[in-house]
């Protein structure tokens, strides 16, 4: 708090610059992360730039963005690496340039990171699996729709869910990719229904796919719980209408906000916790109202 503002005053004309590089800026989730990051920048009087490539799968594009931030000699970096192991060389470059790096949303096995802010997708997937297990019970079968194969975010979410479901004695009927796309999820779900596979629940690694799957299930008059991921505005609305059963929500706003907060601290040379847990929770009909209100406040609309 105090020390920070003092240092800020010593270089009044030289505002602190924080570079935030996320996986992409093409979804609600990252937009909320951006909102959080910007809010933190405003609060602490730092200049926060949020960048992200076109798609979460554009690994090299993201690395170039980080490099370009290093070129700009930002005071600290907050990065949500889309392919953690691939980003390590560029992290080392940042370290050489004496730029502290905070990892947000997705962790990487890199010893020199200042901190990891978030909960991790694996844990989120586990939470979703456990929730389904709880409402379905032992021996039931679950269909999983996931994002593009090889996309680490969705690998983690799917793996976490599978782990939890198996641990609770449930079965995974099939895992099919629907590339995080609502329309493709409809098609894939239609075909799964058509193949007369038995299942009592559906887990999707993001809300878009969950809403698509829901659409196909509704059309076939199949009423099974569908659990999504991300707690997106559309997902929450659907939950409040009693359609989507639940969504696993990390706190994107907090990830952005606390990520930048940690970055500012690190840039000032203050100590930062190695691990900042932003919390993950299940949103269902019980708490959806409150979450929707929070979300509206965050998005300020």
């Amino acid at each position: 708090g105090c020390g920070g503002s003092q240092q800020g005053q010593t270089k009044t004309d030289q505002k602190m610059r924080i570079g935030v590089v996320v996986k992409a800026l093409n979804s609600d989730y990252w937009k909320i992360v951006e909102a959080g990051a910007k809010a933190a920048g405003e609060k602490y009087g730092a200049d926060v730039t949020v960048l992200g490539p076109n798609a979460e799968t554009d690994v090299t594009g993201q690395i170039s963005m980080i490099e370009d931030q290093i070129t700009k000699k930002v005071n600290a970096l907050v990065v949500a690496p889309s392919q953690p192991s691939s980003a390590i060389p560029v992290f080392n470059k940042a370290k050489d340039a004496k730029i502290p790096v905070i990892l947000a949303d997705t962790d990487a096995k890199w010893d020199s990171k200042v901190s990891f802010v978030g909960t991790g997708n694996l844990n989120g997937g586990k939470l979703g699996g456990e929730y389904l297990a709880k409402i379905l019970g032992k021996g039931k079968k679950v269909v999983i729709l996931r994002g593009a194969l090889g996309d680490p975010t969705h690998d983690d979410r799917a793996n976490g869910a599978v782990e939890a479901l198996k641990a609770a004695g449930l079965e995974v009927a099939t895992i099919q990719p629907a590339n995080s796309d609502r329309a493709m999820a409809v098609t894939v779900m239609e075909n799964i229904i058509q193949s007369k596979q038995e299942f009592e629940g559906v887990f999707c690694t993001n809300d878009e796919m969950a809403l698509g799957a829901l659409k196909a299930l509704e059309a076939a008059h199949i009423n099974v719980p569908v659990v999504g991921f991300d707690g997106s505005p559309d997902g929450l609305t659907s939950i409040s209408e009693g359609k989507l059963n639940a969504s696993v929500a990390q706190s994107p706003y907090n990830i952005g906000f606390q990520g930048v907060e940690a970055a500012i601290k690190a840039a000032k040379g203050e100590a930062v916790d190695k691990r900042i847990d932003t919390g993950t929770e299940i949103i269902n009909k019980d708490n959806v109202k409150q979450k929707l209100d929070e979300l509206k406040k965050i998005l300020g609309k």
Binding site: L25, N26, S27, D28, W30, K31, N54, L149, T174, I175, Q176, P177, N179, S180, D181, R182, A183, V186, T187, V188, E190, N191, I192, Q194, S195, K196, Q197, E208, L211, G212, K215, S232, P233, D234, T237
Partner: protein, 332 residues
């Protein structure tokens, strides 16, 4: 008259020739039949009424976009922007109708209008700026339209469209999806357009020999602008069906649709060198793509293997057509 000018038999009219003609027109049909046969054998669920309607519905969006793509391919061009047009046109419609409460009819008009407009821009940049190839102009608008869709929606989807907008993509007449009826009507219209109107024939002429076409006093630029406008329009129509299907417009809609549309046209016998390709071939091409995806899902093929299988089937589908052509030539 025949859709595929190449397939015109020397003495049409006799019964036997008609069948041959149809076979020649619809070369890809054999691939489709073979593929369906295999899938029927492998999965008991494939050849059910339910599933056929499934496929009809699933192929509708690509079919609509592919017919526009066919026109561009006939002129030896390409339209990479179709996927982005799907996103932009539907997102604008979403904003107008859902967020601003405009009437659904006006929303639909806006959606289709934006599609045609982006297409028109493609045509104009191609012709008036003398860009060397539509790859450039449409790659440009592909990026611009996607960016605009993201900006306008602030990257979040728009749901809860009125039923009148969802109708095309969601409604059924009995067991038959309206979207499939739409596809058949559209394809019928395009058949007439391409074969029985001057502009339709000029499209083939431009692809066959642009210089000769120009010297025949035909305004090539006008033809191209019409072609790209239609392609944009059809992409928006595909978008409209998509909105009905998922009851949402979202800025990432249509990612990669250009590949599916191009593949449909080419599998259906269109040539990148221009001037060759048929309406019905394209429909079959779109069907092959849909049947393939559907079948692999039904068989619960693992996702990785699906990717591999799609690659192999695309090649084989076209190869069967090549073999058929060769056999037909020998038989003569």
């Amino acid at each position: 008259m025949s859709t595929n000018p190449q397939a015109l038999p020397a003495d049409a009219g006799t019964r036997k020739f008609r069948i041959k003609e149809v076979l020649q027109k619809l070369g890809a049909l054999i691939s489709l039949v073979v593929l369906s046969g295999i899938l029927t054998y492998l999965s008991p669920y494939f050849l059910t009424m339910d599933n056929i309607m499934n496929i009809a519905r699933q192929s509708a969006i690509n079919s609509l976009i592919a017919i526009g793509m066919l026109l561009t391919i006939l002129t030896a061009g390409i339209d990479l922007s179709v996927g982005s047009v799907v996103a932009l046109s539907t997102c604008v419609m979403g904003i107008l109708v859902v967020k601003m409460g405009m009437s659904p009819i006006l929303g639909i008009i806006a959606c289709l209008g934006i599609g045609a407009l982006v297409g028109c821009v493609n045509g104009l940049t191609l012709t008036k700026m003398s860009l060397p190839h539509p790859f450039i102009s449409t790659l440009g608008t592909m990026n611009v339209a996607r960016g605009l869709a993201l900006i306008l929606t602030a990257a979040s989807p728009i749901s809860n469209f009125p039923w009148s907008i969802q109708y095309l993509g969601a409604a059924f007449w009995g067991p038959i999806p309206v979207s499939f009826v739409l596809v058949l009507i559209v394809y019928g219209l395009f058949h007439v357009f391409l074969n029985y109107t001057t502009v339709g024939r000029y499209i083939y002429a431009v692809g066959g020999n642009p210089e000769a076409t120009r010297l025949s006093g035909i305004n090539i630029d006008k033809v191209l602008i019409i072609v790209y406008s239609i392609s944009g329009f059809m992409a928006a129509l595909g978008g409209l069906v998509l909105v009905g299907r998922v009851n949402a417009a979202f800025p990432l809609a249509g990612l990669g649709y250009e590949f599916d549309a191009i593949a449909a046209a080419i599998i259906g016998g269109a040539s990148f060198l221009g001037g060759e390709g048929t309406v019905w071939g394209t429909l079959i091409g779109a069907m092959i793509m849909a049947v393939l995806r559907n079948g692999l899902n039904l068989l619960s093929v693992s996702a990785e293997m699906q990717t591999v299988a799609i690659g192999i089937v695309i090649i084989l589908a076209v190869y069967i057509d090549v073999l058929r052509h060769k056999a037909a030539k020998k038989a003569k």
